[in-house]
Assembly symmetry: C2
Amino acid sequence: MQIDVVATAQLVNSEVVEGKTVVVIDVLRATSVMITALQNGAKAVIPVTTPDEAFEMKKQLGRDVLLGGERMAEPIPGFDFGNSPLSYTADVVSGKTLVMTTTNGTLAINNSLTAQELIVASFINSDAVCQFLSNKEDVIIVCSGNNGLYTLEDALCAGQIIYQLQKAGMAVQCTDFALAQKALYESHRDNLGQLSTSGYHYNVLQQKGYVDDLAYCFETSISKTIPVWNGQALVSYK
Amino acid sequence: MQIDVVATAQLVNSEVVEGKTVVVIDVLRATSVMITALQNGAKAVIPVTTPDEAFEMKKQLGRDVLLGGERMAEPIPGFDFGNSPLSYTADVVSGKTLVMTTTNGTLAINNSLTAQELIVASFINSDAVCQFLSNKEDVIIVCSGNNGLYTLEDALCAGQIIYQLQKAGMAVQCTDFALAQKALYESHRDNLGQLSTSGYHYNVLQQKGYVDDLAYCFETSISKTIPVWNGQALVSYK
């Protein structure tokens, strides 16, 4: 298996993902939200680029649609949800289609849609993602980053996936950048909090009071749900 | 002090470096060559983009000019030197001006020339570089990378510089990317060879037989020479 890692949503495009299995990560918090919503019974998640697109899609698709996402880490006026995974509980999302727009994660997904296959990962589903990847040949892990900048939490999650694949006995051939994220994760995995809490985005969310979200998003492999792109939406992989 | 790290020569431009103190790193091997040549008495090093520019400059500047550099890690036909730092000995470079063109390092320097100040670093002069940086406010470390890709050796050298600045008591404010390179270096510094020898470029040079260069380029702080841009050329910082 060949693995490369891309540092930000802005660095991914159709040329980069052509013929690849793409894994999009936005630990804080878009991909953590998507996994949680599908796990709690949402039918599908549709990532869009702007709030206007989201409102338009809700008009087209009707009343079983919920709107979620953020700008500047805060809920968007007129939306049903912000970007807090803990608010996507079964009683409100079950059977619904979630249309999402976020600054980084939905952008990374939309820039990767022409990949051979596309799944969504976060710390909370990393074991399931490794299982999914175990028979793949050419993998690109897309870290969403934050406004075009590398973020520690996405890089550590990418590193965890590579580390776990190697630990499971996969012969993994890494680019230098993939190797660096794996080495960073491996050398800090016994005390991941010490490094991950130094990240810029982590501290923005902490200052805004999203401490429960932060604790949740760094839990490892508490979900077996893998959002997979079916050509029209992200649905739960069976 | 604020520090950011840029991953490749291709990602740096006049907007990125405006008003900053820029440190360009190309451990394997361009910046290791530049430090070595100036330490061994070369008057100046002029980085140019193409072999044709180098030949043209030699015509203009006359016979005290030597041409050095590489393409695909190999010497350029008609040049005096390849990109092996060990060949830039005092008996041949003393008093001479070296005109250099390489794939990554000279490109990174040429893309950074509008910085407020620009110096050149490698493992071999890292203590001196930290000393130079100790009173700076806004620093960008430009890793040259390899053909647009992140390289482990440049990232580890950037990480070493940040680690040493912090260890010397500097209050350093890092971007996530700078923090990651520092953490990567810090967690591998007792056995740096294990990680650095996994790098793609390292292995290319090893397969081509440049084993003495590799050993030399990973020696730490054996030189006090800092190449600094004086507006026309890199000269030894006094």
